[in-house]
């Protein structure tokens, strides 16, 4: 029951940064959460060694993103660009951290992006990343790094799209699992006074639905929070997503471990949502 469950404990937040707009939104969200949880924030910029190795091949040319001019990439040139990027990001990071009074550190590390993040995320409770990295293709909305990390599924992850902001309304996808209750508790902790929490519940089977609804209602009553329910069927889940698709402010919380049905739904629709998405994983 709910009494057994606690919200996720966030003491250390890791935010992975690059020069993309998604990444900047992720940084803003991470700073807000660090402020909320009074957590330490670590900003991370990774100098991709894979890219540097590529530069050693004779085949490696880049096309300027704005100028569309083709030019040869050299190891030196690439290194200097990366250093410049890291400095730029560090300045933004430092400014935001200073403004909010959050305790933060910024690190520049070399290595493969996925590996470094995986390694670094072990030392944190929550990982914040841009939904799409610097990939020129704006879609699909889930970049390779994000996808890889989700698959790893070791930590709670906050995915933030460009221009999206943490805020209200907060939605929680609920199935009767322990992680769903953790998600609910986490949502409760993030709610502002007077705000309403929307719980997404599958309608069928109807007994189970009524039962769950009752349990959540009792929980809400006990915790003295406003809630509303949004019921859906597997085939109508897409319709609900369509409704909130363009919203840029709010939070969509869902548990990491989902039953196969939900997994299919989430994988199908996750990329459609613009809201920040918090994938809740049990703290280690």
């Amino acid at each position: 029951m709910s009494e057994k469950h606690q919200p996720i404990c966030v003491k250390r937040i890791l935010v992975s940064l690059d020069t993309s707009t998604h990444s900047f939104s992720a940084l803003k969200a991470a700073v807000e959460l660090a402020h909320h949880y009074e957590a330490k924030l670590k900003g991370l910029f990774i100098q991709d060694t894979a890219l540097l190795r590529l530069a050693e091949t004779q085949l490696f040319y880049e096309i300027g993103e704005y100028t569309a001019i083709s030019r040869k990439i050299t190891v030196d040139g690439l290194t200097h660009s990366m250093i410049a990027q890291s400095r730029r990001i560090m300045r933004v990071f430092q400014k935001l951290v200073d403004q909010t009074g959050v305790e933060g550190e910024f690190r520049v590390l070399d290595g493969s992006v996925d590996e470094v993040i995986d390694h670094e995320s072990k030392k944190c409770d929550l990982l914040v990343i841009g939904k799409t990295g610097t990939n020129p293709m704006k879609r699909p909305r889930l970049g390779s790094t994000a996808r890889a990390l989700i698959h790893l599924g070791k930590k709670s992850i906050l995915l933030v799209e460009e221009d999206a902001n943490l805020g209200y309304p907060i939605f929680v996808l609920f199935e009767d699992s322990s992680l769903s209750w953790t998600s609910l508790e986490t949502a409760r902790e993030l709610m502002g006074p007077g705000e309403k929490l929307t719980v997404l519940l599958e309608e069928s089977p109807i007994e189970e639905f009524t039962n769950m609804k009752e349990k959540i209602r009792d929980w809400a009553k006990e915790k003295k929070i406003n809630i509303s329910f949004q019921s859906f069927k597997a085939e109508t889940f897409g319709r609900f997503i369509q409704k909130i698709k363009l919203a840029k402010t709010g939070l969509f919380i869902l548990p990491y471990m989902l039953s196969p049905l939900y997994k299919v739904l989430v994988e199908k629709y996750l990329k459609e949502i613009s809201l920040p998405i918090l994938l809740v994983q049990q703290s280690e």
């Binding site: 020069t19 894979a50 890219l51 190795r53 590529l54 050693e56 091949t57 085949l59 490696f60 040319y61 880049e62 096309i63 300027g64 993103e65 704005y66 569309a68 083709s70 030019r71 990439i73 690439l78 660009s81 990366m82 410049a84 990027q85 400014k95 403004q99 990295g133 610097t134 990939n135 020129p136 293709m137 704006k138 879609r139 363009l246």
Partner: protein
């Protein structure tokens, strides 16, 4: 003493009888009189004020203190009541030429009303625009445009990605671009792995990469076009939203002001501007400025700066006016007169716009009347030129001095000129008027009416009554205590004294006003509710006392015999002349010793003052007349063989005027005839070649000047002054002088001819010319003639002697 000639005390002063005034005190006078005896000036002002042709502006001339400004202001105010209230004028931004703001004329009161309406419109527009741009409809449509743009882009990238995948190539983001790299099942291949490939494989990969790069370039080249298209679409959407949001507000305003074409046009321009610049109303992210430059640009925030341009600058507001304005500008600087464009400092630079246009006195008086002090206008740099330019062009063009003189070349405002229709009254002294008339050719075209103020009026019964009313009006105006009839009578007498005439009254309002206020002060000092004659006298005495430091010093030096003046005894060739000193408004008389010396000569009378350039031309003329008199009377048979010199003893300043010419003649005759002159008498009066005595100025002060010295030394009973008979009507002597005359201790002798004077001064008859061409023996004329003949003979003898010697 020569009783036959002496003036009786009643001739020394003209009294104003309080009983004749017809009231006990001024509270009984209800009629207000502001102007007395200025018929000529009144008619001129009336003409100038009512004539509607151009150039009929008025120059009000007369000495200072006449109350000219007040009088002309009263005239204008009376006329202005029945004149129509002039229009309001506003300046609005010209959106096509912001440096040339538009002037709009509106009925009185509409200017401020429109200004208020625009302020409200701005506020409402901001709310309406924010609501429109925050609406779900707008947000969704905007998002849809961006989505469609992104969709296009990502579709092409997806296709490219797929192609790359098929060719085992990965699309990678580099720090400043996009690159393709070969990959295998394990991911992107590094240099080592690529090197392991065969030459052919590498060549194929290279070709594929080049092909994909070409396609990528094509896509990227299209991005800016799509972005532009998306921006255009957003802009169109913004305009649509803006138009909808403010359309109602604008139409409401247009309907309200449909009768005013220019306002409707301005309102429509505002609408166009808002729609055109709708982007400025988009909610901004509200971020803090990160740099100095950003701070500056945020300061001039686009929305605020746009809204500021819609505002209305009311330059002339006649909403509370009834009738035409009457303005007096006390500080007629160029800017205060013509208006100015002010600037505000922003980050070290000076900026301005149409809101900084400030009106001048001519704007405020437009459609009415403007009164200016001529001297101030002329002494303020370029005010006179600016005033004339505006009157000539009949429009008001605000131009800073810097611009007008081409001293500043930076861009500034050039507001649209406003048509000018007003009457100007320049108030100044006569000298200024005649100088302008003489030296400024444009002056007579622009100021065709001269309103010349009289400095005095005739003292007759009706004017005396009018004068009393004028006094009562000033008393009311100054809110002083009431004056009883004796005080009013004394005021009238004093104004005759200021006019130096028993038949004239001074019309210089300032003197009268000061005397009234000061008399009131003394009455209050004595705890009296009503001002009496003694208070007026106290005020007169106090005023003299305040000013007479120099007179005291001079008198002191005479009494201490530093300045040698005899008031008793007899002397040959020495006489007491009388001169007048003027210190501002204060005048006083002083006796001066004049002496004469003679020698053989060629008939010349030498003016020592002139020789040392201390004598003015009028004085020299007077002395030359003496020569004419001597030649005419005594040198018909023998040549005038003397050389005479005349001097004002102990005179260390300049001397001018001919009022001492008779005095000099007496000294000269005394010296020639060797007959002593009485030193207990003093003389004033000019003389002509026929020996007639002519009037002089300052007669009262001169008499009093000699009287004071005599009195201080102790009146002997035979002391007195000889004055021209023509000056008798000017006598308004001090009461103590009159009292002494009454007591027979001092005497005033009116003299018509030099013969009368010499008789009084010597006690010897002048002697009339007899048929045989001689004068009766023992008379002055006989003695003079005899001496002159002797001198002629001596000169002849001297000439002969010299001739023999030379032989």
């Amino acid at each position: 003493m020569v009783e036959n000639f002496e003036l009786s005390p009643d001739k020394l002063y003209r009294k104003c009888d309080p009983d004749q005034l017809g009231f006990r005190d001024t509270s009984e006078i209800k009629e207000t009189v502001n102007i007395v005896g200025q018929d000529r000036a009144s008619k001129a002002i009336d003409l100038g004020m009512n004539i509607s042709y151009s150039g009929y502006n008025i120059f009000v001339l007369g000495p200072t203190g006449m109350g000219k400004r007040k009088i002309v202001e009263d005239f204008f105010k009376e006329k202005a009541k029945s004149d129509p209230t002039p229009s309001d004028w506003i300046y609005v931004n010209d959106f096509d030429n912001p440096d040339k703001p538009d002037a709009i004329e509106l009925p009185p009161g509409i200017g401020t009303q429109y200004q208020k309406d625009i302020e409200e419109l701005i506020e409402e527009m901001q709310t309406a625009m924010s609501a429109a741009f925050e609406s779900e409809e707008y947000q969704n449509r905007r998002q849809a445009v961006f989505e469609s743009f992104k969709e296009n882009q990502s579709q092409l990238f997806n296709e490219l990605q797929e192609k790359a995948n098929k060719q085992n190539l990965a699309m990678i983001k580099t720090p400043s671009g996009i690159a393709f790299a070969p990959k295998d099942e394990e991911g992107v291949m590094d240099a080592e792995e690529v090197n392991k490939l065969t030459e052919e494989d590498r060549e194929e990969i290279k070709e594929n990469i080049e092909d994909l790069q070409g396609q990528l370039q094509n896509i990227l080249q299209q991005v800016p076009t799509w972005q532009r298209e998306a921006q255009e679409e957003i802009k169109k959407l913004n305009k649509e939203m803006a138009n909808f949001a403010i359309g109602g507000l604008i139409n409401e305003l247009i309907e309200k002001y449909e009768d005013y074409e220019e306002i409707v046009s301005h309102t429509k321009q505002i609408q166009d501007q808002v729609i055109e610049n709708a982007d400025a109303f988009l909610p901004n992210n509200g971020g803090e400025p990160t740099s100095f430059l950003e701070a500056i640009s945020q300061r001039g925030d686009a929305q605020t700066s746009l809204m500021e341009r819609f505002k209305v600058n009311v330059i002339v507001d006649n909403s509370d006016s009834e009738g035409a304005p009457v303005i007096f500008e006390n500080n007629p600087t160029y800017a205060n007169l013509i208006g100015k464009v002010e600037h505000f400092a922003q980050m070290g630079t000076l900026r301005t716009d149409f809101r900084m246009i400030k009106p001048g006195a001519m704007h405020r008086a437009n459609g009415g009347y403007l009164i200016l002090d001529a001297r101030k206008v002329l002494t303020q740099p370029y005010s006179w030129e600016g005033l004339k330019r505006a009157l000539q062009s009949k429009e008001l063009e605000i131009e800073s001095l810097g611009q007008a003189l081409s001293l500043i070349s930076t861009v500034s405002l050039r507001p649209e000129a406003i048509p000018l229709d007003l009457k100007i009254a320049l108030v100044g002294d006569r000298m200024l008027y005649y100088l302008l008339l003489q030296y400024d050719p444009e002056f007579s075209d622009l100021f065709k009416v001269e309103a010349d103020f009289e400095t005095e009026i005739e003292w007759n019964e009706s004017n005396q009554q009018l004068y009393a009313k004028l006094i009562a009006s000033i008393i009311n105006e100054e809110k002083t205590n009431i004056f009883d009839s004796s005080a009013v009578a004394r005021l009238i007498e004093q104004n005759a004294r200021i006019a130096n005439d028993t038949e004239r009254l001074n019309t210089r309002m300032q003197d009268l006003r000061e005397l009234i206020v000061e008399s009131d002060y003394w009455a209050k000092q004595n705890n009296r509710d009503t001002v009496t004659k003694s208070d007026v006298q106290k005020a007169i005495d106090a005023k003299i006392k305040r000013a007479d430091r120099l007179r005291e010093k001079i008198q002191e030096s005479i009494l201490r015999d530093i300045n040698l003046i005899s008031t008793k005894g007899e002397e040959v060739g020495q006489i007491n002349g009388l001169s007048v000193y003027a210190l501002g408004n204060f005048m006083f008389g002083k006796p001066t010793r004049i002496t004469a010396q003679i020698s053989l000569g060629k008939g010349q009378v030498v003016d020592i003052e002139r020789e040392v350039e201390m004598g003015g031309p009028i004085h020299s003329k007077g002395v030359l007349i003496l020569g004419g008199f001597l030649k005419g009377r005594y040198a018909q048979d023998v040549p005038l063989s003397l050389s005479a010199s005349l001097v004002f003893e102990q005179s260390y300043g300049g001397v001018d005027g001919d009022s001492a010419s008779s005095t000099e003649l007496y000294a000269l005759l005394s010296r020639i005839a060797e007959v002593p002159l009485k030193q207990n008498l003093a003389v004033t009066g000019s003389v002509n070649q026929l020996g007639q005595i002519q009037p002089i100025g300052g007669v009262n002060e001169k008499i009093e000047g000699f009287y004071d010295i005599c009195k201080m030394r102790g009146l002997t009973g035979d002391q007195g002054v000889l004055i021209p008979k023509a000056n008798v009507k000017h006598l308004m002597l001090r009461q103590d002088v009159i009292d002494s005359v009454k007591a027979g201790k001092f005497h005033v002798y009116p003299v018509e001819h030099i013969d009368e004077g010499i008789r009084i001064l010597t006690g010897t008859e002048a002697g009339e010319l007899q048929e045989d061409g001689t004068y009766p023996e023992g008379t002055i004329n006989a003695l003079v003639k005899e001496t002159l003949e002797k001198m002629a003979n001596r000169l002849t003898e001297f000439g002969k002697g010299k001739g023999n010697q030379s032989e």
